[in-house]
């Protein structure tokens, strides 16, 4: 078996960059005439635009239809700053960042109003913003002429860089593609950073992302603003190239084209998106002479690509994605069963510290109540979780166990009562703050980031323990380097505890390809990676066979004994409960009906009644 080679990838390889730079130097000279050079330049603009949209729609999964407006904001800001229109003549290199910043700030403000809306509603509100923006461009020429209205603004200052006048399409293509290269690098760095991982998590499962400590609202806002910034940057470069700017430059149709580039390239796939942008910028030129027929072909192509290659045209073409051979299959293609039963290779160490339950209360639940409509899901619940304790909660379906987890982890707000962690009242905390405070959870129905690899799922959890921000991530400063290294090592360390089930080639396997039991393990590993003190495990053994259940039972015990986690576990399999629990709480109908050691609880007639149902119909008939 090929050994996994640890490698931290924060950017494209130098070969890739060299390739790009060479192309930049060579292509403009190879192009036959000004026309193709100009197409080449426009292609560069579209590459930037598509990469920017890829951050919003591809990395983060936000359906942002106002994207084109930020392109426009960048363009118009440039027109204001570098022309006779207002008589301001800033140098190009100064104007460019101002345009990008203006767009970014606009994106941020717009995001503030609408980022909480979900899916289609976000799309609609952003679409409305884009429409308003265009109408304002058209109409803000009176009473004071701001935008130039339908006449647009034209004749900008000549761009001079390093004493070279940028005039010809050839000059421009070099300028634009240099900018595109920058955007490409930024985009790549971001994707590989904690920020990119946070965005991916939001795209895959917003709630789960929130629950492992990502402030999803804020991260979505950042994504929105980053996209806007890149759009604004491209807008400035673009209008400088066009030497004029008009409202029509920022039509809905333009947006559709950029979206097509991103989707055809494959959402989130940087190389694919670049390829998509190149193809879709050149294809219409080839078809230009055919007028209406051109757009018909475009439409048909779009529909068929969506039907035939829903992951994008370039999703599985060699060179764009790695095709990994599954080493767990033998020659005949049959799955080779894993024989590795142990969660940790080095468990024989003798001098490790063993943890046991201490009499220090860590988490206190006081009088907790939550009503859903008419149903009381959790009813005046009181209990206390001690340091290094394993406390199990059992009870029939619908007893309110998972709801309790949801309240503790901040997903639901209780109607009454408090959750106290150490000295902190976390009752009103949002999920990401609960996670950051040190309480991590798993979900009963598994909420993993299915399209991401195993190791990425774990790395994402380090989000709330790392700090590298945009600047650090983009320039790969020391902070980012150390944190990335630390993140990678922690992730590997945690996965190693699960033995070969989650290591080796599995690091890079998509979670959706794992077995159910393995996904459960990843879910636990993901919770552990947030660096919590308390683990809330919601049915960790569901869907596992007896052998696997035995394994996970051992593992949960080890988690406390060896690693000192405090664990609150919901479980149905009583032999697991019996094996791990210091104490057991039995819930039914939202109430705690019993509490004590497993043996005490198991003997309790009320528990037997609640768990197994009343014996026949001998119970009281209390019709309401």
């Amino acid at each position: 078996m090929k050994r996994f080679k640890p490698r931290i990838k924060i950017g494209p390889t130098s070969v890739t960059i060299l390739f790009f730079v060479l192309s930049l130097a060579v292509i403009p000279r190879l192009l036959p005439d000004n026309y193709w050079q100009s197409i080449f330049s426009i292609t560069g603009v579209y590459v930037m635009l598509a990469l920017g949209l890829n951050i919003v729609a591809g990395f983060t999964g936000l359906l942002d239809l106002s994207y084109i407006a930020f392109f426009g904001i960048g363009g118009y800001t440039f027109a204001f700053l570098c022309s006779d229109h207002f008589g301001i003549h800033l140098p190009f290199l100064l104007a460019l960042p101002i345009c990008a910043l203006t767009a970014m700030v606009s994106g941020f403000l717009l995001g503030l109003t609408s980022i909480r809306l979900k899916g289609d509603y976000l799309a609609i509100v952003t679409l409305a913003f884009a429409q308003i923006f265009k109408l304002l461009l058209l109409n803000l020429d009176a009473p004071i002429n701001i935008t130039g209205g339908v006449n647009g603004i034209y004749a900008f200052d000549q761009v001079t860089l390093l004493f070279i006048n940028i005039v010809t399409p050839e000059n421009y293509s070099v300028l634009i593609w240099t900018c595109a290269l920058l955007v490409f690098l930024v985009s790549f760095r971001l994707k590989a950073s904690r920020i990119g991982r946070g965005w991916n998590a939001i795209r895959e499962d917003e709630l789960a992302a929130n629950a492992i400590g990502i402030n999803t609202t804020r991260m979505k806002l950042y994504s929105f603003a980053t996209g806007a910034m890149i759009a604004g940057f491209s807008g400035a470069v673009f209008v400088s190239f066009q030497d004029s700017v008009f409202p029509n430059n920022f039509d809905f149709q333009q947006l559709v084209i950029v979206y097509c580039m991103v989707i055809i390239g494959g959402l989130g796939n940087i190389y694919g998106v670049i390829a998509g942008a190149v193809v879709l910028s050149i294809l219409p030129e080839i078809l230009r002479e055919y007028g209406g027929l051109r757009m018909m072909i475009y439409g048909v192509a779009l529909v068929s690509i969506m039907a035939l290659r829903p992951q994008g045209l370039f999703s599985a073409i060699p060179g764009f994605t790695k095709l990994v051979k599954r080493p767990d299959k033998d020659e005949t293609g049959e799955l080779r069963a894993s024989t590795d039963l142990y969660y940790s290779q080095d468990k024989d160490e003798t001098d490790v510290k063993r943890y046991t339950k201490q009499a220090i209360p860590l988490l206190e639940i006081q009088n907790l109540t939550l009503n859903f409509g008419g149903l009381t899901a959790v009813d005046k619940l009181d209990f206390c979780l001690h340091k290094n304790e394993i406390l199990s909660i059992i009870g029939p379906n619908g007893a309110g166990k998972s709801t309790l987890f949801n309240i503790i982890s901040g997903i639901y707000q209780s109607d009454q009562g408090k959750v106290i962690y150490k000295d902190l009242d976390i009752s009103a905390y949002k999920p990401h703050r609960v996670a950051k405070a040190g309480i991590a959870r798993t979900f009963q129905n598994l909420r993993l980031f299915n399209e991401l690899s195993v190791i990425d799922n774990i790395k994402i959890s380090r989000f709330c323990r790392t700090k590298a921000f945009f600047f650090s991530a983009i320039f790969n400063l020391n902070l980012n380097k150390t944190e990335e290294k630390e993140t990678h090592e922690t992730a590997k360390k945690i996965l190693k505890m699960f033995g070969r089930r989650l290591t080796g080639y599995r690091y890079d396997q998509k979670v959706s390809q794992l077995s159910y039991a393995n996904r459960r393990r990843v879910e636990i590993a993901r919770a552990m990676a947030t660096g919590p003190e308390i683990l809330l495990l919601d049915e960790p053994s569901a869907g596992m066979n007896p052998q696997e259940t035995g394994e996970i039972t051992e593992f949960i015990k080890e988690l406390r004994d060896r690693f000192g986690y405090t664990i609150l576990v919901i479980e149905h399999k009583l032999n697991l409960v019996k094996a791990v629990s210091d104490r057991v709480i039995v819930m039914d109908h939202g109430e705690k009906i019993c509490e004590g050691s497993y043996d005490d609880v198991a003997k309790n007639p009320m528990v037997i009644e609640a768990y197994l149902g009343k014996k026949g119909k001998s119970g009281n008939q209390t019709n309401s």
Partner: protein, 310 residues
């Protein structure tokens, strides 16, 4: 003072007419959204196709702009055929562009519908030309009743027809939805597609029916507007689609009464906005209302708030 009152009542009439049309378009969006949770961007093109069908019917059944049959009959025929053609097209779109993508990510469906929209628009451009098709309708309406004056308010005959037809269609639809088995199946499918299947409802068939009805109403809106404004061209679908879509969201997407209310509200707001602002800003007003409603009531005016399941 009286002047502004007169103007406002006139604008109300303008608003109700166009609002009724928006409502018809919005219903198509909302119904499809209800069962498939997708925004059907191609819906605006069905509206355009409705207009074109009506034009062809008028063209075929009149010589030198004089209809060869009874005017009422001809108008009905135009409406019915427009609805039929749009409905069939809607079916074809569902089968070709959406059904293969039932399980694909939402963004793909959205783009597929955009592709359909681009295709239909340019197909018509290619084969019907860019030129406006003019409806010669003066022979359809007797001389004396072309306009009515109520106080200072003028209502044209066609406007009355459009308002009546819109409301007639909306009433019929409401009755179908409320009273018939098909209607109940549609509602059930929209509310809980799996539970609907549990009741023995063929949900695939219901989706087809929803496309049929939604597209037919879109087509009806297309021909009604064309009759009212006497023109249609290949490009009308985009603007109409955008407005219908806005109306659907305003009312709460997925809710049929919401779509109706949203359409009327949007139409009236637009007309009123023109009275008080430069007319260039009427769409700004419309979209600003949409944004305001969604920010304060994210589920739209009549939509249902759904609690996320964990």
């Amino acid at each position: 003072m009286e002047d502004i009152f007169g103007q406002l009542s006139q604008q109300a009439i303008n608003g109700i007419t166009i609002g009724g049309v928006y409502a018809l378009i919005a219903i198509g969006y909302t119904m499809v959204y209800g069962v498939l949770s997708m925004l059907n961007f191609a819906h605006g093109e069905l509206y355009m196709i409705g207009g074109f069908t009506g034009w062809w019917v008028l063209q075929i059944f009149s010589i030198n702009h004089v209809p060869v049959m009874n005017a009422a009959l001809l108008i009905s025929l135009m409406i019915v055929l427009s609805m039929a053609v749009s409905a069939l097209l809607g079916l074809a779109i569902e089968r070709i562009a959406y059904r293969p993508l039932r399980k694909a990510p939402r963004m793909n469906l959205l783009l597929s519908s955009l592709g359909v929209s681009i295709f239909i628009q340019n197909f018509i451009l290619y084969f019907q030309g860019a030129k406006v098709k003019v409806f010669h309708i003066s022979h359809l309406i007797p001389e004396g009743i072309r306009t009515f004056h109520v106080g200072g308010v003028v209502i044209s005959f066609m406007r009355i027809i459009v308002i009546l037809a819109c409301f007639f269609l909306m009433v019929i639809l409401t009755l179908i939805i409320k009273k018939t088995n098909i209607g109940k199946s549609i509602r059930a499918t929209a509310q809980d597609i799996e539970a609907a299947a549990f009741m023995g409802i063929d949900t695939d068939k219901i989706i087809v029916i929803v496309f049929l009805i939604g597209s037919a109403l879109g087509g009806a809106a297309g021909i009604l507007v064309s009759l009212l404004f006497t023109q249609v061209d290949y490009y009308v679908g985009f603007q109409a689609g955008l407005k219908g879509f806005t109306a659907a969201v305003l009312g709460g997407i997925g809710s049929i009464p919401g779509a109706m209310a949203g359409g009327l509200l949007l139409g009236i707001c637009e007309a009123m906005a023109v009275t008080f602002f430069p007319s260039a800003y009427k769409d700004v007003v419309a979209f600003a209302i949409l944004i305001a409603v969604l920010i304060f009531r994210p589920q739209g005016l009549m939509g249902e708030r759904i609690r996320e399941k964990v």
